[in-house]
Amino acid sequence: MLEIYLFETVQMVEQLEELLIEIENEMTLSGTAINEIFRIMHTIKGSSAMMMYDGIAHLAHSVEDLFALLRSDSSKEVDCHQLTEIVLQTVDFIKGELVKIEQKEEPDGNNEEIVHLITAFEKQLNDPKINIRTYKALIYFDPNCEMENMRAYTVIHQLTPVATVVAYTPADILENEDTTEQIRAEGFTVEFTSELTYDELLLHFDHTLFLERIDLHEIEEKKKAVSAAPVSVKKAKEETNNESCKKTAERESTAGDPVLPAMEKTAVEPVQQETAAQPVSRSISLDSPASKPEQSSSAISVGVEQQDAKHANARPNLISVNVKKMDSLMDIVGELVISEAMVTKNPDLEGLELENFTKATRQLSKLTDELQDIVMSLRLIPISNTFQKMQRLVRDMKIKLDKEVELQLIGEETEIDKNIADNISDPLMHIVRNSLDHGIEDKATRLANGKSEVGKISIEAKNAGGDVWITVKDDGYGLDKSKLYKKAKEKGLVTKSEAEYTEKEVFNFIMLPGFSTKEKVSEFSGRGVGMDVVRENISKLGGSVILDSKTGMGTSIRIRIPMTLAIIDGILVAVGDAKYIIPTTAIRESFRPVEKQIIKDMEGNEMIMIRGECYRIFRVHEQLKVDTKVKSLTEGIIVVIEDEEKFLCIFADELIGKQQVVVKPIPAYFRKSQAIAGCTILGDGSISLILDAKGLMNT
């Protein structure tokens, strides 16, 4: 029950987030979007109330109310920026609570602040400018009162129930205690909108402790942008954004005024029904009816239907299935593959000529192959959900860090295993955070370095062979070899002089535990976890991280992950009576060595020379203690494997052939060997161990 609740709510919240970012980018709020958000909030409210998560239910209810209001009267002017900000805060709150629930904690977050914002926003909507007035107050406190910055904060806090604070100077009263002096000398200016009258406001301020003098002015709406301009550059910019958004809304609402109410109704209603019937349909940006006033209302709604139908095609019907069921299906198919091999390669059949049997088994093989493919594809989900999270991250960081960044997503439709998708998003977020925080320079530096003011980050996903590659690239400052070397030296990580290290080796330092070059820990990146954790997480998935950087030009981080972990292609080799599987992805070549290729170093370690390079030899029979008659290298076979640009030669008796195997973990009660990744059951029922390329490198 709880599981379904969590699953559904998380999905809806993600959908909502996607929708909001779309709205913010386009700065228009379509009727469909309103309906969609309304529906999502309504559902979340209902199910949260059922589960007795009152905090979430209450908040969802407030947002639902807000959108009900927007829906009922589309002529209202909406400040898109403010609206998305509020709903995004709601999204964050709900997400936080869901995490708590998942970890079996009490979802006890305080939603008051957001609810407050919502009511304020509603008020603002409800009362067009006639009632809401903008005021500017200049406040002086009693000279002996001390801590003027906190007095100012008190003023702001106590204003919030009756007014919406637009801006105040000095702006950094909480962070900067020096503002005390400034307020003492120049007073504290606050600009706000309120429905209260001038006299009511004076009465309100009268209750403020230590307030010595207040100059309260009413500002006319039109002058607002002008008067706000000197406050601070950032504020002024926001203001103009809001203003332009308002203006578009205004234009739309006035242009279509006479026809609008009726048309809007007819156009909106069918959409609403459709969204109810088709829960996965996404928002379509419904052109404001005002923009095509010559069309009849029925034509518009038909248009919407068509668009909607098109959308429904793009997003097929989905059913959600418990992952555990998927896993057991996968297991059973795995067993089936094994049983099939047991039947078709049964030792009893040896030497018999069975024409019909062979035909039948061929058919069986074909079907099991197909079944296996489908089961594998069931677990695959597009990576776009993971990418979506990056978009939100970049949006938030852009605002906080005041950097201009363009995020490019390539290959969103690439499909990856659900398990990998769940585990890739944290490392990916960390990399993107790093890029934005440490990689991309601030605007001034970028311009000074002859780059465009807008930084670029691209995230690309693609399939290649049995692997998924995810590349995060930025055009920021890149890594600095000498800086990194210095840092590594301080941390005692270096063993050679700087000149002896290649650039790549030095760059790879950042993936060592406890390494962080940024002196100051910032809010987003550098919270004690670094690239080492990223690397560790990726290698848990069986993947690897490759780092490239050019100082001044940018950094690219490539992640390679095997597409699926459960069934792999392998080469079967024999050592004595035992059979081992070597994953095909790790194998570079195999050959039977000749005497002159084999060399021994001073300590008697055997090496093999291939095309002028020396490689270490791993004798399976020695290392894994198996009896075999083949002890001379020239009688057996050498298989060269590679992992992260390191090579190793595995020595076995002979190659048996290619085989697809189902990886089973080795039960915990066996002592784990680094060289073994897991085991599998072969066609004849015997157990074969799977060699671990990564682990072997460390033996």
Binding site: C145, E146, M150, E177
Partner: protein
């Protein structure tokens, strides 16, 4: 006459505040030496104003403030704080304190603050 509840763990401080107030037409109806006692007394006496020290044993002033605001959202609580306790002050304001007075204070400061209620 406005009634006041004085909360402070130092008896000296309580007496000082009490004398200041009673000289100027307030009626100090109760005193409390920690947050717990303060909540009890508030419930019992329903004073017009509470002066609340922040750092106290047993239960601190912030905790007491929050409980009192739950009991009566319109309660007038003024915090008494030492210089530099910015974080605490912020929390108090967010929790509903009507304002704060910085220690050490002069008589006229206290009066100017409390006369607003």
């Amino acid at each position: 006459m406005k009634t006041v509840l004085v909360v402070d763990d130092a008896a000296f401080m309580r007496v000082t505040i009490k004398n200041m107030l009673e000289r100027n037409g307030f009626s100090v109806v109760g005193e409390a030496e920690n947050g717990k006692v303060a909540i009890h007394k508030f419930h019992e006496l329903k004073p017009d104003i509470v002066t609340m020290d922040i750092t106290m044993p047993e239960m601190d002033g912030l905790c007491a403030l929050k409980t009192i605001m739950q009991l009566d959202a319109s309660a007038n609580v003024v915090m008494m704080t030492a210089m530099g306790q910015q974080g605490m002050v912020k929390e108090a304001v967010v929790s509903g304190a009507k304002g704060f007075i910085v220690k050490p204070f002069k008589e006229e400061t206290v009066l100017s603050a409390l006369s607003k209620f």
